[in-house]
Symmetry: C3
Subunit: 400 residues, 3 copies
Amino acid sequence: MKQEFQKIINKIETLKTNLYNKDFLLTWEKNLDELKEILLVAEALKHLRDNNISTKCFESGLAVSQFRDQSTRTRFSFASASNLLGLEVQDLDEEKSQIAHGETVRETSNMISFLTDIIGIRDDMYLGAGNTYMREVGKALDNGFNEGVLPQRPGIVNLQCDIDHPTQSMADLLHLKKHFGSLENLKGKRIAMTWAYSPSYGKPLSVPQGIIGLMTRFGMDVQLAYPEGYDLIQEVIEIASKNAIENGGKFGVSHSMTDAFRNADIVYPKSWAPFKVMEERTKLLKNKDISGLKKLEEKCLLQNANFKDWECTEEKMKLTKNGEALYMHCLPADISGVSCKEGEVQESVFEKYRIQTYLEAGYKPYIIAAMMLTNRFENSAKVLDRMFKRNISRETFKVF
Amino acid sequence: MKQEFQKIINKIETLKTNLYNKDFLLTWEKNLDELKEILLVAEALKHLRDNNISTKCFESGLAVSQFRDQSTRTRFSFASASNLLGLEVQDLDEEKSQIAHGETVRETSNMISFLTDIIGIRDDMYLGAGNTYMREVGKALDNGFNEGVLPQRPGIVNLQCDIDHPTQSMADLLHLKKHFGSLENLKGKRIAMTWAYSPSYGKPLSVPQGIIGLMTRFGMDVQLAYPEGYDLIQEVIEIASKNAIENGGKFGVSHSMTDAFRNADIVYPKSWAPFKVMEERTKLLKNKDISGLKKLEEKCLLQNANFKDWECTEEKMKLTKNGEALYMHCLPADISGVSCKEGEVQESVFEKYRIQTYLEAGYKPYIIAAMMLTNRFENSAKVLDRMFKRNISRETFKVF
Amino acid sequence: MKQEFQKIINKIETLKTNLYNKDFLLTWEKNLDELKEILLVAEALKHLRDNNISTKCFESGLAVSQFRDQSTRTRFSFASASNLLGLEVQDLDEEKSQIAHGETVRETSNMISFLTDIIGIRDDMYLGAGNTYMREVGKALDNGFNEGVLPQRPGIVNLQCDIDHPTQSMADLLHLKKHFGSLENLKGKRIAMTWAYSPSYGKPLSVPQGIIGLMTRFGMDVQLAYPEGYDLIQEVIEIASKNAIENGGKFGVSHSMTDAFRNADIVYPKSWAPFKVMEERTKLLKNKDISGLKKLEEKCLLQNANFKDWECTEEKMKLTKNGEALYMHCLPADISGVSCKEGEVQESVFEKYRIQTYLEAGYKPYIIAAMMLTNRFENSAKVLDRMFKRNISRETFKVF
């Protein structure tokens, strides 16, 4: 273990990064070295935890989680990451709190931050609102810190917004790095990020947007495919195109799942709602127009039903590179005949890659922890080195 | 304190047990030595805590609690046990999470376990479902661990299911051991586990089942009594009979509270729903048949009302050994004239034994902690010995 | 830092106090030295935390929070205080628990306390009930401890009741001490505790009662003003009068906001419900008389609307000492044109003092922590001294 760990530390030390005290909101706001540092720190932490070596670097402190949407895995990933570093989670549950009662973001952001190191926010319901909200929180924290209200300026980690889902896409990237051996090996690899049919509606756009915005940074051949009308946010499409050009990769958009799968090394079939539907839905949600929402849902489900053939089947998998592309999903997947009648993926395909998707998900706690650690400590290599050298057993008595 | 503590350690070392990495789901799946080890470890931990000596053996890690039913005392017992050992509780609250949205048990079990040491589950609502569910979780964790998804295979502690309530019955057993001086002293002691009237319905069978399944292991004379029709699960009755034969005890079933109380050393009067009602209720719950449930409740409450004389009164207590049997209850009890008009126990009887029932409940956090500790550490005697010898004050500054 | 910290320690050592093992329920049950000790301990803890020095004094243990009302800031303050000292928060959420199901206070208080050091309670909804409830809990804990059920008798901290809001008023007092330089400097300072218009109703009386009950202890000139009919609890008025006489201060009651503001050094304009309305509301709440509550609300809002001129405006602020009185609020304030159409305070006034109100709120976690620490440790000066001297970095790796 020692040599492998040392190699990670050495690599981190070669990087030119500036993550300290910077919020992690969008992957495309970070330079390549910064993304690499997150991956390496996550790997190092996983290394230590897998060997039951303590990774605590906070003696006390709070990590506030704010979820505006239901969540099992992100909630547990955040709690795991906090515990890994020694922070205690405190949920800002809006049903329990007074936020809905007219408090301003500015005020609440300060009120929850007197002893807080990290705030994790998931806000993906309203198009044009989630990421904006996180920046408002950030400004309020800057103000509070500058005015002496807060002894430290807590860092913000985006746990999913309307634009990006950086903890997911970075966990996905780490999975790919591990699966293919290195980031270098990803160059030229084709990933098909495609829409897939689901009997639900209103799924956020942040996963496909996160994937095309990130994977184009690493020289991959990113093929986005969706039925006509299921557009993503235009700005993210432009970012992906620009990324591909600048990083020696490719970015294509088509309306054929079959074409996207052809010769793909990786497939990522996943349902999402059309941008325009999300826009309309946001308006209706803001107006609390229940009957309008009901009608929109019906319309949207009817529209979805035209594209039931957008299913990841064994047959379609045969089109991929040697018929053996890596299947990815952020989970939970809509599995035909299991979680729904007809869905995103055929049962046999999912079953074949089930463990792979679990491994993929397993990187998320470490990615979040890496974002926390790099936000709070200026020199992550030094911190990791100390963790390794002090060598405290996580299970205190296993050492005897 | 030192000698008493050393005696506990010495006793543990004589036992032949295999609790390490094994789930604790039913007491009758454990051998006698294993049950004794749980009791001894619980006693040792209580000893340390009562003297403000630290019992932490985890430097970090999560203890996930999953409650499918309301609960104050079990929730607090689990949280206390986790804190005692150094684990942080993370609730898997199904209202907050996506479990209800079609996720499979298999997947969720892995998703919550990446950094988890213990999962505590309470699932007592559906007959034939609770214990089965725990085993499904266990299989999913085995699979995840074997496939390299999980760095450790979290242990499962049954916090109450449809069949058994091992943390309750083991806490009750520890209370009896302390009250009568030793496990040896329990031999031949008569315990009356009887039904009692309550104006509510649908109370689980797991407490009486747990008691008859456990106390028959220790040579006790276990007398189960209930009105005709209020049967328990047949398999558990058979286990209790078999236990009594194998361990030199007795097991009798009658339909008279008075007969059961006669000459009893211990009485445990507690309401439960008839097995058949629970079966019907399970069907109705699964079908979400609200009006059917309403009708069943009415029918059941009417039926209950025939047995209002199944109350633990001062008069009935006079029938017990010297009129001084130990009254037990898992709490909260339905106290006549206090928490309901007519209930399980007369106010004066409850008041006399109130503190005893609190002491009984007070063992639960330590029983849960003992189940956790023996699951995660191969040699509990060594762990306890180290805790004692390192002698860290729980309140850091009390040492000065 | 060293000298300033040493001065705090020295001051604490001169005080004659008896806070150890005593609940903190009402400020007027504590002597002046005890209030001073709370302030000094809070200051010392803030000092340490601001310099990232560990203030942990519990190695494990639970801090139970029980909120019978929604709350963001008090919940976070309590969680922050607990984390600061090393205790883990466990919420006693009545929706999750069985308390509503007829359990007695006596029983539940013991059931949640087996491994608990502190219980924080907020119960401000029912007049005549909140403080009484806390004392019932206290008696139950005394009983449990004396009977050997509990290894320690947890301390109770009043997080707001129907009579007092000591964590708020003490945080306010610390803010004033810091703002004016010392407690000595508060002598003769005029504070206007006034009612203010709000479009809501049913706000508790505990903040104004807490302020007049506390600030009269420190030689201040406390002017209470409210529209006729908006009386506070008579007993608290009498306490405030008595306090003023005994401590060389003044206490006046008027029905003119303008008069109260005139020449004030500090203004605290805040809405509350009339005592009689709260009394009626308590009856209706107990009877679950929904339509009665609705009618009362309407009547009360109509009555409130007669006093919309009770707003803290720039014009009124000009009446204060040099037009520069310190504006205080417990937050969230009803800001005219921001959180409501017409409210307690004009936007420009609130904005001018916004950061001041945040600073005011920022003392609360430390006040709560000070109440916890002095309850559990006999010699707070010694504890603080040890914290300072052992000098453990809160962020473990910042020391390198």
